[in-house]
């Protein structure tokens, strides 16, 4: 057993690190490190810089712009992005819609959408959750009725992240209400946000930020060619995506950066044993997560198998660590301070509560491990 990166892996990491340090614009880096709001322009600027370098979608097949990196290289790249304090790459197009199209899409769909996603010309959002269907996604009600070459869509999505930036939304809709199992009769549609009948209502979260929305569909016409995979097979598509998603939730690099920052920021508390112990415990927790993540990666590399249900623990531990980091950061701020940074840190604590709720709540992740891994 050797837990160190090989010479080639280390060289790769250094190459990525060097490029990032030269290419990540200072203003963006500063915005990220001061928890400032990132505008759509900020996000897309960084997307385009990566696209130009050819690194915006490493996991895609080479013919569509992928880098051909192996699993470990891709992991190193992700971690370096986080560690450098790069703006997040919004996953809805790059890491959700694209893998679905690559696996299930027609050639025409790939040709039409993938290059635009790669270049950052279309902004995508994810229309899964509905008011009555969160954890129990398969109960979704948004209805799509086929009329010749169109589906007519009626219903509502909720919690749609950055829908107010989006050009397109991929949705799970019910095309057949009369099936036995609820997972049947669901289809996966690509919908133009500018189509008549699509309206938005902003939902402000408790930190005062507008990042999610309600999206309403009122007789929206969607061409049948915008359906991905067979009619009624949307659940298969969604499940494929879920497995894909979970491997990337540890966010080790990002947390390492936050930890380094926290250590620096809380230096005045370094003689406070209680605080110092909590900080150390958190660091140990992060070390454990990093090695666990690498072990999963190594298993995938050796077996060639997709990640198992047990990778849900990366989401559980990763988000708990992210939350604890912001909580300690908040405790490190001077309680009497009201400068911009202190205020932003406190709001960040509020905002990070979402991480244990979205992308499959941590309760649901535990259910997955209980059932699929432990057989309970």
């Amino acid at each position: 057993m050797d837990l160190n990166y090989s010479a080639e892996e280390a060289a790769f990491r250094d190459e990525v690190r060097a490029w990032l340090s030269a290419s990540l614009p200072l203003d963006l880096r500063q915005k990220v490190s001061s928890y400032a709001h990132l505008s759509k322009d900020d996000l897309m600027r960084w997307h385009r810089i990566l696209a130009e370098k050819g690194w915006v979608a490493p996991a895609w097949p080479k013919e569509w712009g992928g880098t051909g990196w192996n699993l470990v290289q891709r992991y190193i790249f992700e971690e370096e992005l986080g560690y450098a304090g790069a703006p997040p790459l919004i996953p809805f197009g790059l890491a959700m819609c694209a893998p679905v199209l690559l696996r299930f899409g027609t050639e025409a769909q790939k040709q039409r959408f993938l290059p635009r996603i790669y270049r950052g010309e279309d902004f995508w959002c994810q229309g899964y959750s509905e008011p009555g269907s969160g954890s129990d996604l398969a109960s979704l009600k948004t209805k799509a009725v086929r009329q010749k070459d169109f589906y007519v869509v009626n219903g509502q999505k909720i919690w749609t992240t950055l829908a107010h930036y989006a050009d397109w939304i991929f949705c799970l809709v019910r095309t057949d209400p009369n099936t036995g199992r609820r997972q049947e009769g669901i289809s996966f549609l690509l919908m133009d946000m500018k189509a008549p009948g699509v309206t938005l209502r902003p939902l402000v979260l408790m930190d005062g930020a507008h990042e999610v929305n309600e999206v309403f569909f009122d007789d929206v016409k969607v061409p049948v060619e915008n359906r991905v995979h067979e009619e009624g097979q949307g659940w298969t598509v969604a499940k494929y995506l879920l497995g894909y998603e979970r491997m990337n939730t540890g966010r080790i690099g990002e947390s390492k950066r936050q930890l380094a920052k926290l250590k620096e920021y809380s230096s005045s508390l370094k003689n406070d044993l209680r605080f110092r112990d909590r900080l150390s415990r958190l660091e140990v927790e992060l070390m454990a997560l990093e090695i666990t993540n690498l072990r999963f990666l190594d298993r995938m590399r050796r077996t060639g198998q997709p990640p198992g249900a047990d990778v849900s623990m990366l989401k559980i531990k990763g988000t708990e660590i992210q939350q604890m980091l912001t909580e300690l950061m908040m405790q490190a701020t001077d309680p009497a301070a009201s400068d911009d940074f202190s205020v932003a840190v406190r709001k960040k604590y509020l905002s990070m509560r979402k991480t244990t709720i979205y992308a499959g709540s941590n309760e649901i992740q535990r259910n997955i491990i209980a059932k699929m891994t432990l057989g309970l």
Binding site: L205, D334, L350
Partner: protein
């Protein structure tokens, strides 16, 4: 031993609850928070009519001579409703004035609801250390002049007068200052506070010392504990209601045992917190000495800080996405509980103090 509230205490709490239920619902509160002043003068007037602004002050100045125990139930009601009016700051400053030669001239206006106060003690860099004060007071002719900065003074924007602590050759003493225009800022829990810059600011001496500041802070801490219990009660009640009504997988989510146990732990946390709030309030009213009082208050603060964190985090988590929305009161209660866990000292601070006593 008797844990019952007496008839007067019960009647007062009932009328406060009735008023808050009628005039301080979530929507009404939202308007108050968004208003320019950040509090409601009408609500303040009603508090005064109910006797709340006079309750803990001596009868000789028009008060009712009550203690923290008389306010436990009221503060719980405030916590449930997330009251943002500057009640605690006014009581803190008023408590300092009540022990001073100015009591007779100033307190009646406070008790009648015509004057609001703020207590400006903490400075940047002190964290929760009450002795770390660098604002100074010097005598120039007949007048006292203050020099220094006070940070995040709760209630200062709407206060008429401020009680300010400063160093003299005798140590820390308290002073009364006319409020000049300050720049208001909104705290994480939607209250108003201000930074205070004192530059040769004229002040009237109130006397007092660090021990008085500690006593006042312990008194306010005990009341804040009771307020926290009210906020926890709301968080628990509304989460319980949600577990019973929100359906996923065809059943109320409260039927999932994983969530039942979480709800039970929240409930226990609330009850434990209530016990400690009662203890703290009782000991600030009746202690043999300052140490006994301080031990009880720090113990309560530790429990309340831990449980406020626990209950607030769980209440949001069990609401799923809805818990994150500004449109639900539970997210505002989350904010209040987050702040209250650190108000007058976080768990770390009080653990150190408790261990040292």
């Amino acid at each position: 031993m008797n844990f019952d509230y007496n008839e007067e205490q019960q009647l007062l709490a009932d009328s406060v609850r009735r008023f808050l239920a009628k005039d301080y619902g979530f929507e009404a509160r939202k308007k108050i928070v968004a208003s320019a002043q950040g509090y409601s003068p009408q609500v303040w007037a009603t508090f005064a009519q109910m006797g709340l602004t006079g309750l803990p002050f001596p009868a000789e100045f028009g008060g009712f001579g009550g203690g923290a125990i008389d306010l436990v139930n009221v503060m719980e009601a405030f916590g449930e409703a997330l009251v943002v009016e500057p009640y605690l700051p006014t009581l803190m400053a008023g408590r300092a004035i009540a022990r001073s030669p100015l009591a007779k001239s100033v307190l009646p206006a406070v008790i009648e609801g015509r004057m609001k106060l703020a207590f400006a003690h903490i400075e940047k860099g002190a964290r929760y250390d009450l002795s770390k004060i660098s604002t100074t007071a010097r005598k120039s002719g007949d007048a006292w002049l203050l020099q220094g900065e006070k940070s995040a003074v709760l209630g200062a924007p709407m206060a008429d007068k401020l009680v300010v602590s400063a160093r003299t050759q005798n140590g820390i003493e308290l002073f009364l200052v006319e409020k000049e225009r300050v720049k208001a800022l909104t705290t994480l829990d939607e209250m108003r506070a201000a930074e205070l810059t004192l530059k040769a600011t004229k002040a009237e001496p109130l006397g007092g010392d660090l021990e008085l500041v500690e006593e006042i802070t312990d008194f306010a801490s005990a009341l804040a504990c009771a307020e926290a219990v009210g906020a926890m009660k709301f968080a628990c009640d509304t989460t319980l209601e949600y577990l019973k009504t929100r359906k996923q997988f065809g059943v109320p989510i409260g039927t999932f045992q994983a969530l039942q146990h979480r709800m039970v732990d929240m409930f226990i946390a609330q009850e434990q917190a209530r016990s400690m709030a009662c203890l703290a309030c009782s000991k600030v009213d009746q202690s043999e000495n300052a140490k006994q009082r301080a031990r009880a208050v720090s113990a309560a603060k530790i429990k309340i800080a831990d449980n406020a964190r626990h209950v607030s985090q769980e209440s949001v988590q069990l609401h799923g996405g809805m818990g994150m929305s500004e449109e639900l009161k539970v997210s505002h209660t989350f904010r209040r509980l987050t702040v209250i866990a650190g108000q007058f000292g976080d768990a770390d601070h009080h653990l150190a103090r408790f261990a040292a006593l």
